[in-house]
Subunit: 407 residues, 2 copies
């Protein structure tokens, strides 16, 4: 069985790279911090005899040989990049639990039938380069390599430039290697497991999500002499849109409708200037694809109403749509058996967050394992999961991997 203390020690060591003021981590994708984290992982894996391959969008594949090396590997992994003020577990746990499985097998001189593969997907968070999960999406054929390399961050630096600068532009064709199956351990990032007193989530799929880039164009004018009815206040239109969509989402008692405005920026802001132009991002989610369509229609409607009320123009671009995903029944059952084997309370559940498994599931049988996180908080420096839950999740991952790798 895996070593929970060793797993915790590697989590804490990784958190030392790009530490933030309040105990979180900042390793935005393809920055020097992200690269340092990757190099530490590679060092750890090479000490176990693993071999590294890097594909053209910077995904890392660390292979532990099996008895039959021409069989496709059973894979696990997640991401090492974080939000600007991110936590120490989101993504990292999935990677370091894979490492811990490798270390455990190494300690016991166990060689599986199929090879094992630990994967680190590039830019999962979507914070530096939109959309999220862009490199696992490229691996799975959702995005072309060219379009991914051309994506730009807010400072105009392209994914390709950042990849070269940090030394992770690999040669491996994107889409290789093929995987026999993929299992991803992750913190839940929501409140359900903790509130229900369950230790493991057997993840059956992921809710749908859509991202929009919106520009509202009104007219900047003087805050003092301009009567309200002459204004074209772009910020007022944004506020109306957000407030109306918030109310709509809050009125859904099931809690399934989710609306978030994560970014909002005024062009040339000044205290006594009516904002003439505002750029913002909109994130809409739902577990049901039809309901998500209805939510998007409502968004369009509220946007039209807000722009009309405030006399501003809107340009809204849907930059990403990730449909509702159902994971592979066989992989879900393997996770469920492993959870049952631990004798802890567990539940089948959908994921509210996107994960690399969303895209990997298109090209390989896939399932995920969740553990609780404190107060359901993630994308926050205060994100926390207990050492016991981390160890438990790694054990369930280990058991599911071994079952699949030794058929």
């Amino acid at each position: 069985s895996i070593d929970g203390q060793r797993l915790w020690a590697s989590l804490m060591a990784m958190a030392e790279i790009g530490p933030t003021e309040n105990g979180g981590s900042c390793r935005l994708a393809l920055t020097e911090e992200d690269a340092t984290g990757r190099r530490l992982l590679i060092e750890w894996c090479e000490a176990l005899g693993c071999t590294l391959r890097v594909d053209r969008v910077g995904n890392l594949f660390l292979r532990r040989p099996g008895k039959c090396d021409d069989l496709d590997p059973v894979a696990t992994g997640s991401h090492l990049d974080t939000q600007p003020k991110g936590g120490r577990f989101d993504g990292i746990l999935g990677v370091l639990a894979g490492l811990e499985v490798f270390r455990t097998l190494h300690d016991h001189d166990i060689v599986t039938e199929r090879p094992l593969e630990l994967v680190v997907w590039t830019n999962e968070e979507g914070s530096r380069f939109a959309p999220a999960m862009v490199a696992s999406g490229t691996y799975a054929g959702e995005f072309s390599v060219e379009s991914t390399l051309a994506r730009k961050d807010r400072d105009g630096v392209s994914f390709g430039e950042a990849l070269s600068a940090c030394g992770f532009a690999g040669e491996l064709p994107v889409g290789e290697p093929r995987l026999d199956a993929f299992f991803e351990l992750h913190i839940e990032q929501g409140p359900v497991l903790e509130q229900e007193g369950e230790a493991i989530g057997v993840v059956t799929g992921v809710q749908g999500m859509r991202w929009f880039d919106v520009t509202l164009r009104g007219q900047s004018a003087h805050a003092g002499p301009t009567p309200m009815r002459y204004r074209h206040d772009a910020l007022a239109a944004a506020a109306r849109l957000l407030d109306r969509l918030q109310a709509h989402a809050m009125a859904d008692d099931s809690g399934a409708t989710k609306v978030t405005f994560g970014c909002l920026e005024i062009d040339s802001p000044s205290r006594n200037v009516i904002p003439g132009e505002v750029r913002l991002s909109v994130d809409l989610r739902h577990v049901d694809e039809g309901e998500l369509d209805a939510l998007e229609a409502r968004y369009d409607q509220e946007l039209a109403a807000a722009t009309e009320r405030f006399g501003v123009e809107a340009a809204s671009e849907r930059i990403w749509a990730s449909p509702v995903v159902d994971f592979d029944a066989g992989c879900i059952e393997a996770v469920e058996r492993a959870a049952r084997g631990q004798g802890v309370p567990y539940r089948r559940m959908m994921s509210g967050a996107g994960h690399d498994s969303v895209y990997v599931s298109r090209v390989a049988p896939t399932a995920m394992i969740f553990i609780p996180c404190r107060d359901g908080i993630s994308h926050n420096e205060a994100e926390y999961a207990t050492p016991e839950h981390c160890a438990l999740g790694a054990q369930v991952l280990c058991d599911a991997l071994l079952e699949r790798a030794n058929p």
Copy 2:
């Protein structure tokens, strides 16, 4: 009579300093651009035999001697700093019309009884350093020299540092020289004169204004798995506050209630992160002090309601309150006589924007002259006043100054 073409040429020459993409100007207070604009003016004035004095907060006093130089001067002026995407007339017209009066007197070898003084007040806009009109306010005793020098811009640079860096930290004690009277020509920055077909506004006073710095603190969390009812979304609270205050202001049919949120910034924004902290600025105005009190009370109430609804905490600081101002009856009448003398339609009116005259009026008899600006637009690169209106305003200014300087 003044030379309208020459005035227009000096306006256009000044606009060449810190030009913006769409035909406006960017000379934020105490930047290199602001300093360049000041040096050009000084050069023009020194060519007319004027002498320069600079006080400790960078206000420029350019004196044209009179017959009785121990009498207090009759003064005019305004400011040369602009908004980040500002126009070519706001403030600049008042300064360059003063220059044009000096040039006209020079051409005709006219010496007034009282000396004349052209004043350039530092940081009128309040965009780089809050509040607005801070240096005329210091001159008038509203702010101490120390507190003004200590004010910081968004990058943490102090007023005093910026003043030294751009070479305008003078020696003249603040509050000197005393002025016999102050007349300021300005564009209206609102729509009234244009809409009513009037060419001159005889400004009788200025509406009251209050500025607030607000921080809303919720909790950042993941946009995906966090149900709406668990959120503490700081941006949603800001949007609710703005939307409710907008509705309140729009419901005032008189048009006198004005609410503007000019700045709004999310801490560490990311598309899929519920905003944990938002900082914003609020600008409230009204022509009636009691109504302004009521508006502030309403603001407090809506802030409390928004923070309660979204489970966030608020820290709101009132950083500035400029009461409703009434100008000097004698100066107002002098302006009105000068306007009548031109035979153009004019009206008495209140100013919606703050001006240096607000503070100067506390220590010297003061009044202002407005001319129309296109579509009432100001604090915008598209700000425009016709050469004819600029010339007319300068002529009214000239006549009012001469009447006062030759009693």
